[in-house]
């Protein structure tokens, strides 16, 4: 457990914040979307569960109208 306390949070926080922004942005975008390719709940799960890659896949192929 010691190793975890060695971690310098000042360094890691920006990374976590970026990931959080990405996920939140994808979730908001998905919620606003009128139609998604496939069920919306599936995309929401993908965005939440699969870190980074989930939101990216959603932005690339999840939406119907704007590419």
């Amino acid at each position: 457990m010691d190793t975890l306390f060695d971690v310098n949070w000042a360094l890691l926080t920006p990374l976590l914040v970026l990931q959080a922004i990405l996920m939140a942005f994808a979730l908001v975008n998905c919620a606003k979307q009128e139609e998604t390719n496939g069920p919306k709940w599936m995309w929401i799960l993908i965005i939440i569960i699969v870190n980074i890659v989930g939101p990216v896949i959603y932005f690339l192929i999840g939406r119907k109208n704007n590419g």
Binding site: L11, P14, L22, P55, V56, F59, N66
Partner: protein, 260 residues
């Protein structure tokens, strides 16, 4: 020119609304700073991951800042390239498939204006994403390792940007040839991959190849100088990009039907 500006503004607005201006830079930044962070925490990561016997001492030489940036470049070369091609695959095909292209082409718009507006607008998003990611990564390497002089950092960024210029031209060109997004991404990635592999396999015959750009950027970081080969590769990459854009315009002109 006027039509180019109108189309360019529309592209920008579209990328803004679709969120491309936000998600693409963020993802690139994550890819970028993951490299210095994993390099820095490598001993801890190994310790946690491997069930090493008690008392094992892990000795990994601390890499230099330049080496970390070279590693980042290699991430850009693989994941970054794939990401960028995927972000570009729909740019023309989507408007063709839905038929919204006919609302553009029914007005006095030329193929050149259309293609160039797509090219410049998409390229600017990708370059901003790349630069944001690289600058942040450079900042991290400065804190965690040692500082790479800023002019070398910028020079390496400039030369690697040429790969993006080339990649965008290739993907747009393939985008005029094919209608299916998956096909467009597949063919573009395949083409870019083959060029990179051939460049490593046949260095003698491929001095001009854009596949050398990453190595040239690394050379600048490690050796600290802009060689003659870098200039050659830069020029040939620019020429090839213009060629692919020209081909894209020609193919677009040959479209028998805009929209469906």
């Amino acid at each position: 020119m006027r039509n180019f500006i109108v189309l360019f503004k529309k592209e920008m607005k579209e990328s803004m609304r679709s969120g491309k201006w936000i998600w693409l830079p963020i993802v690139m930044m994550v890819i970028g700073i993951s490299q210095p962070l994993t390099s820095y925490y490598m001993p801890q990561i190994l310790e946690m991951a491997g069930n090493l016997p008690e008392g094992t001492v892990i000795e990994i030489p601390m890499p230099t800042g330049a080496e970390v940036l070279v590693g980042t470049m290699s991430q850009y070369g693989t994941i970054g390239t794939l990401l960028f091609v995927l972000a570009l695959m729909n740019v023309i095909s989507h408007e063709r498939q839905t038929g919204s292209l006919s609302f553009v082409m029914v007005r006095p718009v030329s193929a050149l204006q259309y293609i160039i507006s797509k090219y410049i607008s998409q390229l600017s998003i990708l370059l901003v994403a790349l630069a944001a990611s690289y600058l942040l990564t450079w900042y991290y390497t400065t804190i965690l390792f040692d500082q790479v002089p800023w002019h070398l950092m910028l020079a390496s960024l400039a030369i690697y940007s040429l790969w993006i210029i080339f990649l965008t031209a290739v993907t747009l060109f393939v985008g005029t040839l094919l209608r299916n997004s998956g096909g467009i991404a597949g063919v573009s990635v395949l083409f870019l991959g083959v060029i990179s592999i051939l460049t490593t396999l046949l260095p003698k015959y491929m001095e001009w190849s854009p596949g050398n750009l990453r190595q040239e950027a690394s050379k600048i970081l490690i050796e600290g100088e802009w060689g003659q080969s870098a200039s050659l590769v830069s020029l040939s990459t620019l020429a090839l990009s213009i060629l692919f854009l020209g081909l894209a315009v020609l193919v677009f002109k040959k479209f028998e039907r805009f929209g469906n």
